[in-house]
Amino acid sequence: MQLWGIYFCNFVHFYYATNTIGKKGIKGFASDIKNAINLKIGVKGADKTTTQRLKTNLQLFAEKETSSTLNLPPYIDNAGKFVNWTKQFEKVKVPLTTEQVDELVALAKKFGVKVEASASDLAGHTGKAGTNWGIPHIHIGEARVHIPVPKGYQLP
C-alpha cells in the first residue's frame, strides 16, 4: 500500500511541476486529488505526508500565475537537489513541452549541471531486450537522468 502512497506523491509532484493545474483548472486538480484520496491509497504515514505536500503545492499554486513553465520548488537550491527533482520526469516518461525543457536546461546551467543529447537520444533508441529508452530524450547531470522531450526537440 505504501507503494501507492509513493506513486501518489510522485504524481502530485509531477502534476505540480509540469503545471497541469493550468490545463485542468484548480477544480480539476482538486477533484483528481479527492478521487485519489478516495481510493484510500497509502498507509497512514504516507497519507499524512501526501496531504501535507498537497496543501503546500496548492498554496504555492495559488501564489503563482498559471503558465506553461515549470515551477521550480523553493527547496531546490543546489545541484544535488535539482537532479533529485528531475528524476520524477524520468519515471513518469511523459514528454515535457519545448518551453519546459528549455527552462529545465536553463536551470541545469544555473546549478552547474551538464545537459547532453546525441542525435539518437533526441530520436529515441530503437534497441530491444530492455536496452532502449525509446522515446526522444535528453540527459541531465552525471547521473544522466533521462528527460522525455517532444519529438523534434533540439537543445537551445
Binding site: Q2, L3, G5, I6, C9, N10, H13, G42, V43, K44, G45, A46, K48, T49, Q52, R53, K55, T56, P73, Y75, N78, A79, G80, K81, V83, N84, W85, K87, Q88, E90, K91, V113, S118, A119, S120, D121, A123, H125, T126, G127, K128, A129, G130, T131, N132, W133, G134, G141, E142, A143, R144, V145, H146
Partner: protein, 173 residues
C-alpha cells in the same frame, strides 16, 4: 566505499529488480524528514553516491517510520569478500541506468533489422538472471557486456551511447 540509498524499481513491471535503477529518497513535505532528504540530495549530488553510512541508516529509519522503505546498497567494481548479502551484478552506467531493470523484456515496438539479435539476447541472458534480475555469475555478466559493446559499435545509437560497466551490489546491513 560507495553506497546508494535505493527503494522500489523504477520499472514497475519488474518489482523484483534489486539493481541500481531504483527510486532514491524523494522530497516529502515533512519537517522530520526534510533534514535527511536535504543531507541526502546534497551529499549524493549529481552522481547519486553517498559515503556516510551512519547518516544513511538514520535516513532509512526515518523514512520507514513514514511507511516509505529504502535500503542501503554497497557498490563495488570488483568482487569483494564481505559479510554483506551479495545481490548480484548489474550492468549500468555510472549514473545507475541499468540494462537489466526490465529483465530484458521489450517495450519498444519499432521494427529494426536487429530484432532477431535482440530476441536472442533476451532468450539467452534472461535465463542467466537471478531472483533480483541481476547476473549471479561473472562470466555471464562479462559476455552480456561484450555483446552490448559490440552492438554499440555495430549500430551506434541503437541503444544508449553511455559506457556500461559491471557493478557488484551488496546489501548493507
Amino acid at each position: 566505499m560507495k553506497f546508494r540509498i535505493l527503494g522500489d524499481s523504477i520499472i514497475t513491471s519488474n518489482s523484483a529488480y534489486k539493481g541500481l535503477y531504483r527510486e532514491e529518497p524523494i522530497y516529502i513535505e515533512d519537517d522530520e524528514l526534510y533534514p535527511f532528504w536535504d543531507w541526502y540530495a546534497t551529499e549524493a549530488g549529481d552522481g547519486g553516491y553517498i559515503s556516510d553510512i551512519e547518516k544513511a541508516k538514520k535516513l532509512v529509519e526515518m523514512y520507514a517510520k513514514k511507511g516509505i522503505y529504502y535500503e542501503i546498497i554497497r557498490i563495488e567494481e570488483q568482487e569483494i569478500s564481505t559479510k554483506n548479502c551479495f545481490l548480484g551484478i548489474d550492468i549500468c552506467t555510472k549514473g545507475g541506468y541499468s540494462l537489466l531493470a526490465s529483465r530484458l523484456e521489450n517495450s519498444n515496438t519499432t521494427k529494426t533489422e536487429m530484432d532477431g539479435i535482440f530476441e536472442l539476447i533476451k532468450v539467452y541472458f534472461q535465463a542467466k538472471l537471478n531472483e533480483h534480475s541481476l547476473f549471479a555469475k561473472n562470466e555471464d555478466a562479462d559476455l552480456f557486456l561484450k555483446v552490448i559493446n559490440e552492438i554499440q559499435q555495430l549500430r551506434p545509437g541503437i541503444i544508449e551511447e553511455d559506457i556500461f560497466k559491471k557493478y557488484y551490489l551488496y546489501k548493507q546491513e
